[in-house]
Symmetry: C2
Subunit: 257 residues, 2 copies
Amino acid sequence: MGTTQLEATQDVQEPKYWHLKTVLNDALDSEFSVGEILPNERDLAARFGVARATLRQALEQLELEGRLQRRRGVGTTVAPPRMGVAVGPVDNAWPGIGNDTWRTVGCAEAVAPAAVARLFDSGAGVPVHTIRRERVMNGQPVATELLYVPAESVPGLPGLLSPASHAPAVLRELQRLDLEGEDRAVELGSARAEDAKQLDRLPGAPVLVVTTRYFAAGQVAAVAISTYRADTCRLTFGDTGTVEVTPHEEQERRQAS
Amino acid sequence: MGTTQLEATQDVQEPKYWHLKTVLNDALDSEFSVGEILPNERDLAARFGVARATLRQALEQLELEGRLQRRRGVGTTVAPPRMGVAVGPVDNAWPGIGNDTWRTVGCAEAVAPAAVARLFDSGAGVPVHTIRRERVMNGQPVATELLYVPAESVPGLPGLLSPASHAPAVLRELQRLDLEGEDRAVELGSARAEDAKQLDRLPGAPVLVVTTRYFAAGQVAAVAISTYRADTCRLTFGDTGTVEVTPHEEQERRQAS
């Protein structure tokens, strides 16, 4: 990485960290490889002749843009290209059906949290089955999910279930219903402690939160709240295939931009 | 806002800023109204007995979660609930068709930037019409867009066009094509200077970047790169209506969570 002092070349019209970001971005392309650990902040700041606060701002930008990753116990590394993760299925399908890539990690029955209950037509106070799932791609955890199924959506569920058979039984009952449709919302969030741990991120890391409502018999039969790593994922929605960009193309794109 | 010194009540297991975030969140619900400007960082830090760095971390979290907004020249304010912004249409449609809520703000013809050219089957070096658009909801700018249309997608376009008639003519020609489908990807980004200005945000603010490919005659006929404010928007996709949550419900949800 060069030793140019930024002060000498900086355009006075743009914030210092913004220019630094551009310089760092070029350096990442030309001098670093994916997965490589960046020098520590003190060294980087000294090398570019900037204050650590300025450096940190630039690093944060590059993290938002998916160029850098902060990894627990490792430091800041050069990020691989984001993975295209299909979120909107071509055909509506219940969770657990077909090529569902989620894995169940737990299940419990409890009263729905007020925030979730409000997404159901039946309102607050109803008992819901809560299935915690996770999605792993290329060996990396990319998302966690809480799937909420009101007990009244699955009236045929046996009363006595072992912990191991609870989630499969709920999913099976759900899949018996006639799925009328689903809709989704995507928004920016910050990882809660439990999700962060599951995703191997620090609490508060930026995440993309996808809220899916599943409709049956004219009602919301289930709700999934999925938390995707924003650093490694781009969510794809589509009816003509996904907007997957191959790692090679992505790398070129980055070098060109 | 209370004057409790955080040190006294803090759970040693969680980071200090995380606990502060929870306390601040409750204070926002009980003592502040939407749009209200927060006291400055020095005062807030003093009141909660935390370092300014800790305070800033907590404020950043709340901004990511959509609870706070940083506004240029104003300061940090309590954010209104995020707006549901429909992104995935029920039926595929060309830009500018039907209830398209975008407004054209400019148009130019140039060689496609390499990053964009790569999204087209025709590859690099092709001339494209670039239409800059913006989307305004409830009087607020919520998104900017660059819509790229390769000249070869619209061969019937007249050669001589005034600046005012350029964009309408391109859209009209595009709409003559048989739209075979579209797909989308959503990812986290940081606002580039020009987009930030248009969105009334600071450069580098977190944004949701939506890349849409429009297909005709077996090829990508147009690409739109849309930049949504992540602080004020939740993007909705759906075939059974949108996951709109009314402001009242949203407020309740927040108070309950």
